[in-house]
């Protein structure tokens, strides 16, 4: 895959050498980008010099290299889709794309990739767009180092930052997305790499995907999103080195997993979320080597989850470590570090000798009746929790870490 892309890059570079160069600037020779695109042949380079260009919907339909020098602005006048790319092999870099139209029945975007292959979009700034980068039916495109910022105040008026629908082999690298509806939205996107992106202060989800299989999410940061991150109906999801932080609110989750199978969440950090991970109907998901710090609930594992492995994680300073909604437990919770564990280690092998039950009575009670949270930390609640620890009756006896770590795991 990567080899193919580098080959394509090499090809486009060689094109650069042989193709013509067309220059666009407000003072001429060409004053319109659309004009330059019309005159260009496949493999040509269009250099755009600083200025504001009102192209009334720029369509790129041949494989050219469109390069902005000194951040020229393409302005959609709040009426048009700013750039539509209909040809493969296009490279677009260094532009400010702004003021796209808004529509209730048409997903107008800052830059749309319509059924194309090997398109590279990099180092652009998208400002005040409805949808930011909109990819449909595309393959092997690279979206790199773009900054996306929507200015609308309500989720209804905002579109998604990077929206991919029916794509394959996409690479989303080091983009920054703020104040959109969903920062990154995937539907039917497969075999893609999402690396080093930052998605924060979005009005709904920082990352939201469905039916998107075998994708790798590495080193992304999802912070302060209204509803956190939500991923559904996918398999082969591989997430590592991500940060999920400060997603707070009644329906906000660090990450919500629904119907996810055969996936891994590793080496990530979950900080200050109301619920760090919410799992519903997940199967064979491995949650390992993560840090859960200062969350309200570190994990909410519904009884519909099975064969999941939660291991080698650090649970530090969470109000509740684990909550669940039933007594059926088909998951493995062994070998974690829990800061609330108060057992002992007689043989000094680093593992506690008594098992740890991470579900407290009050977590179960609060799950059924959230208003009882007002009594948390009161004397009677501590008494009830103690009693339950001695004689478990409500908490699921099978939800247990048989060999908890005595000291935090170094990660």
């Amino acid at each position: 895959m990567e080899r193919l892309i580098s080959l394509m890059l090499l090809l486009s570079l060689s094109n650069l050498g042989f193709g013509r160069v067309l220059k666009v600037s407000p003072s001429g020779p060409l004053t319109s980008v659309a004009d330059a695109v019309r005159r260009a042949a496949a493999g040509d380079t269009v250099l755009v010099y600083p200025g504001v260009y009102y192209e009334k919907g720029l369509v790129i339909d041949k494989p050219i290299h469109l390069k902005g020098i000194g951040q020229p602005a393409l302005d959609g006048e709040h009426r048009y889709e700013v750039v539509t790319i209909r040809s493969g092999g296009v490279t677009m870099e260094g532009f400010v794309v702004r003021h796209s139209g808004y529509s209730d029945w048409n997903d107008l975007a800052g830059i749309r990739l319509a059924a194309v292959r090997h398109v590279v979009i990099k180092n652009n700034q998208l400002d005040d767009t409805f949808f930011g980068l909109y990819c449909q039916n595309s393959d092997s495109c690279v979206l790199e180092n773009n900054t996306l910022h929507s200015r609308s105040d309500s989720a209804r008026l905002a579109g998604n930052g990077i929206h991919c629908w029916h794509c394959n082999g996409m690479q989303l690298l080091n983009n920054t997305i703020t104040r959109h509806r969903d920062g990154i939205y995937f539907e039917f996107v497969t075999n893609s790499l999402i690396q080093g992106n930052r998605s924060f202060y979005n009005m709904r989800y920082g990352l939201h995907f469905m039916f998107s299989h075998n994708d790798v999410y590495d080193g992304n940061r999802f912070e302060h999103n209204e509803a956190g991150v939500s991923v559904m109906f996918s398999h082969g999801v591989n997430m590592k080195h991500n940060l999920f932080a400060d997603n707070q609110g009644g329906g906000a989750y660090g990450i919500l997993l629904k119907e996810i199978t055969d996936s891994r969440i590793e080496l990530s950090r979950f900080v200050h979320n109301t619920v760090a991970i919410y799992m519903e109907g997940t199967t064979r998901v491995q949650v390992s080597q993560n840090v859960f710090r200062d969350n309200g609930w570190a994990l909410k594992v519904q009884a519909s989850c099975s064969d999941d492995t939660i291991t080698k994680n650090n649970f530090l300073g969470n109000t509740f470590d684990i909550a669940t909604n039933g007594s059926l437990v088909l998951n493995n919770f062994d070998r974690n570090y829990w800061d609330k564990y108060d057992g002992y280690d007689l043989n000094r092998d680093g593992y506690g000798d008594v098992p740890y039950h991470p579900v407290s009575l009050y977590a179960m009670v609060a799950e059924k009746n959230p208003s009882v949270m007002m009594l948390f930390h009161s004397f009677i609640v501590s008494l009830l929790d103690r009693t339950e620890k001695v004689m478990p009756s409500i908490t699921p006896a099978d939800l247990v870490d048989h060999i908890p770590f005595m000291k935090p795991i170094t990660l």
């Binding site: 009882v372 948390f376 004397f379």
Partner: protein, 255 residues
């Protein structure tokens, strides 16, 4: 008035029980702060001390002290001093010396070792609870002539505020769980000084967990600056009202 307060404070500060109370609080605070690696955890343990031990000691100690100084009070009543002044001075002396004990035992070490807004709030709430529970003790003792009865009432009051009340609230929350309980639970929380103090601190210590719907209602009410002020206002009422009742009764009491 100042003279009476001075006598009372000096008298109490010589008291071995108060000295050992100070030492105990100091030892507990230092242990919590040094032994726990997690700052939130040590504050939580201290919160439990503040919410349970402080009210208990304040109410029992004040009650016993009042009964023991009945003769002193009778002597003062013979002097040309207004009765309300006598009672208020005795109360002020009591509260002041308990505050000194709390300040040395918990306040100073906590504020030196951990200067966050949370620990300032914890110290403030502890101080208010001390004041409130000695006021409740004065109210109880003025109404009860018999010492044994008075101490019994004090223990019952502590038991009610720290355990029974929460049990009742828990019961109510479950009985009426089909109804929206956010606003009633704010009222229920304000009707008990211990709960009120706990909720104000809870909103800071477990802020993430309190972001659910109920918590959000609490947070918007008690979490804002105005809400904290209102909370402290209600706590002040909890001090003023029992005192007012005690003074009214004491003014007409046949000693």
């Amino acid at each position: 008035m100042n003279k009476i307060i001075k006598y009372v404070v000096l008298d109490i500060l010589r008291n071995k029980i108060l000295v050992s109370y100070t030492v105990l609080l100091f030892a507990i605070t230092m242990t919590m702060l040094f032994l726990q690696d997690n700052q939130t955890k040590s504050l939580l343990s201290l919160l439990n001390i503040v919410l349970i031990v402080l009210p208990l000691v304040s109410i029992i100690f004040s009650t016993i002290y009042y009964y023991n100084s009945i003769e002193f009070i009778e002597l003062l009543v013979c002097q040309p001093i207004r009765r309300s002044r006598i009672l208020l001075s005795i109360y002020a002396g009591l509260a002041l010396s308990l505050l000194i004990a709390f300040g040395i035992g918990v306040g100073l070490p906590l504020l030196i070792m951990d200067h966050s807004l949370t620990s300032v709030l914890l110290v403030l709430i502890g101080a208010l609870l001390t004041i409130i529970f000695s006021a409740l003790a004065i109210l109880g003792s003025v109404f009860m002539r018999d010492k044994a009865r008075g101490i019994g009432v004090a223990i019952l009051a502590w038991f009610y505020f720290s355990l029974l009340y929460d049990g009742l609230v828990l019961f109510l929350l479950f009985q009426f769980s089909d109804y929206p309980l956010e606003k009633p639970s704010i009222v229920l929380g304000s009707l008990n000084p211990i709960d009120l103090g706990r909720i104000i601190l809870l909103l800071r210590l477990d802020s993430s967990a309190m972001m659910g719907y109920t918590g959000a209602v609490f947070k918007s009410f008690f979490g804002s600056a105005g809400g904290i002020l209102l909370g402290f206002g209600i706590l002040t009422l909890w001090m003023v009202l029992p005192l007012w009742g005690a003074v009214r009764r004491f003014n007409h009491k046949d000693l």
